[in-house]
Amino acid sequence: MSDLFRLTIAEARDQLARREISAVELTRSCLDRIADLERRLNAFITVCPREAMEQAEAADARLAKGAAPALCGIPLAIKDIYLTRGLRTTCASKILGNFVAPYDGTVIAKLRAAGAVFVGKANMDEFAMGSSSENSAFGPTRNPYDLRRVAGGSSGGSAAAVAADECIASLGTDTGGSIREPASFCGVVGIKPTYSRVSRFGVIAFASSLDQVGPFTKTVRDAAILLRDLAGKDTHDSTCSARPVPNYEAALTGDIKGLRIGVPREYFVSGMDREVEDAVRAALTHMKGLGAKLVEISLPHSEYAIATYYILATAEASANLARYDGIRYGLRVEADNNIDLYNRTRARGFGAEVKRRIMLGTFALSSGYYDAYYLKAQKVRTLIRQDFEKAFTQCDIIATPVAPTTAFNLGEKINDPLQMYLSDIFTISVNMAGLPGMSVPCGYDSKGMPIGLQIIGAPFSEETMLRAGDAYEGSGAIKRQRPPL
């Protein structure tokens, strides 16, 4: 079996352009890898070999003519939250178990136009609600570094697929850390861009003021390449920014001399895994050695972030998930009246975590509680945003751990929702402030489990964030280890 699946986007782009390899060979290599690993990993809900090969053949025809886009012929996994026309799109839920998307979301259409290849729809927590991918109606995704552990969530399948080389790169979404945490747990690069940088049209909505589209890749350079094709104005998403998209790859100069890195004191607290803290501190010291300056900063409202998030996100979710009512699409449990039809369809179609969050969100918005919960949370969100605004007057980027631990065991946290929520502590404020955030591998613990470094930027400063991550990654600070698969 050829090991073309090991390639990065940058490497594949070059070899495809020089016609040393074909898109069909590259896609075949990934599909074979998927067939070999999927029984153990469960990173995919739907694998689409026929469609992928058709896309690969079309890509080869284009590559033969020369001057094809960067993503032409590149096999990608797509989180099953994106509408992909003609393909089953389930959001890992029984309520959409047989739903076939009638149209492509905007970023999917952009990737198709660029000639990318979709090998399958990646597993996730149902409706993006979770931090482990254990809330999927299609079984959990296992961590490629240790199959007894979680891949993280909610974009666990997308992260695991890249880590295991089942694809060259993938798409996830991030509402409270759902790209960055699985990236950290699976030892790959994951980016949540600035809110409004990438269109959310055709992405099944969880929390509309927090959701953001982003890539998983093997290297920071790859993330810069992919992000450029994802970002940009979209008339179908009125929250999507019209700012021009820079050439992110061109920003990767490798130079971070003089870069001021803010280190928030609230993010290095007890209860954190010692090895995670050591790895992150070692990364910061290393970046100092590359010429960056470490600045201690404070984000005083950090301890209120989880409480705020679990009101706002669940409230928005309760509204966004009201459409799953058994009427126009999805699961329908028949009844002789509409109220019972709704009640039973939703009871049967939604999993426990989704029900829990809908209940919490509905409560927070209900009459008599709206001011005490939803409005209060919106005000605390302002305080959290202001913390970051003040911090960015003293530093250019902020560096923190991604998660308090490495990947935990399957089943370990699933019965304690609050424990699961607390694992979002380092990622969640970034969504609330709408900032760009990235997870870059920075080491492994004594069991070989990956550890991620989070780099947070000011709004629309992805170039600086990517430059920092790329400089760190390229400096040989750590030796990347492949999963034992």
């Binding site: 809110y195 700012r243 209120y304 009427i327 809908i358 409560f363 929702p417």
Partner: protein, 98 residues
């Protein structure tokens, strides 16, 4: 105490609002889960937010407008391909009015 933070009646009321039929077991578990979560969320009351404006939106904020023109082509077959029951481009549902 977190067990009494939300009572069973409130759980049932919220379930009605959310159009979720719950088993008795689910009601009890949700009462316990929501109580412990809401107790945790109470920490927000430590903050004085009387002079703070709420944040509704982040990113490039605004409400872009466009001309009120149809810009896509209707495709009822595609839009109805997932309908649980349909007839003549209509979605069939239970009778609502007696």
């Amino acid at each position: 105490m977190s067990e009494t933070r939300i009572n069973l009646e409130q759980v049932q009321h919220v379930a009605r609002l959310a159009r979720l039929e719950l088993t008795e077991d689910e009601e009890r578990h949700l009462q316990a889960d929501l109580s412990s979560i809401l107790t945790y969320i109470d920490k927000l009351n430590q903050l004085d937010t009387s002079a703070v404006e709420p944040t509704a939106q982040v990113g490039d904020v605004g409400t872009p407008m466009r001309e009120d023109e149809v810009t896509n082509r209707p495709d009822p077959d595609a839009m109805l391909q997932n309908a649980p029951a349909q007839r003549r481009h209509l979605v069939v549902v239970p009778k609502i009015i007696e």
